[in-house]
Amino acid sequence: MGRSVKKGPFVDSKLLKKVLKQKGTGGKDPIRTWARSCTIIPEFISHTFLVHNGKSFNKLFVMEDMVGHKLGEFAPTRIFRGHGGGRKKEATKPGS
């Protein structure tokens, strides 16, 4: 929704270059990136990324279903530890 079709999906050019390079050499090292707004394109499948969440890097192995989403969608920027101080609550958010 929103972005004009004419432009196509936004893909971080530096990141794409890195991925393609890795494809050539067959390397499997996770790619560290801050480009959360980069759309996941089919070329990214079965590559591993370390996506910045503002503080640390979340490991993300790209699967086919993830195509079309942005990298940042898989690295949550907020942690919710629950309300109230009294009793301990079960963690509402599964850490991924």
Binding site: D65, E73, F74, P76, S96
Partner: protein, 128 residues
């Protein structure tokens, strides 16, 4: 009572409104269908002819996703997002608004009935 698209039985209402009783059809799609088939919108659902009724059914089947199929599609999309662990999937899982709405107040549709979290002091503290 006329019957369109499987189980739906819209009744005494104008046909444009009656069609919106089908899951997945709102005023827009209802009007589109009627326009495409050249049926007047101000006619009552009960007064619609057999031919028009079957034509409507066929048109809706062909052009729109409705009812069970639409529900299935929706839940499939949801479970896909849950499985890949994207932000929207996480929000669905937690039962919070998915599209960036505020949650400080409101968001009651997603969060359900208010659960008041009172800050209770332990019995010892209150005595002491």
């Amino acid at each position: 009572m006329p019957r369109i698209a499987g189980v739906d039985i819209p009744a005494e209402k104008g046909i444009e409104i009656a069609l919106t009783y089908i899951y997945g059809i709102g005023r827009k799609l209802s009007r589109d269908a009627l326009k495409a088939l050249g049926i007047k919108e101000n006619i009552r659902a009960k007064n619609i002819s057999e031919d028009e009724l079957s034509a409507l059914g066929a048109y809706i089947e062909k052009n729109f996703t409705v009812e069970g199929q639409l529900r299935r599609q929706e839940s499939q999309n949801m479970s896909r997002m849950k499985n890949i662990g994207c932000y929207r999937g996480l929000r669905h899982r937690m039962g919070l608004p998915v599209r960036g709405q505020r949650t400080r107040t409101n968001a009651r549709t997603r969060k359900g009935k208010r659960r008041t979290v009172s800050v209770k002091k332990s019995v010892k503290e209150m005595k002491g």
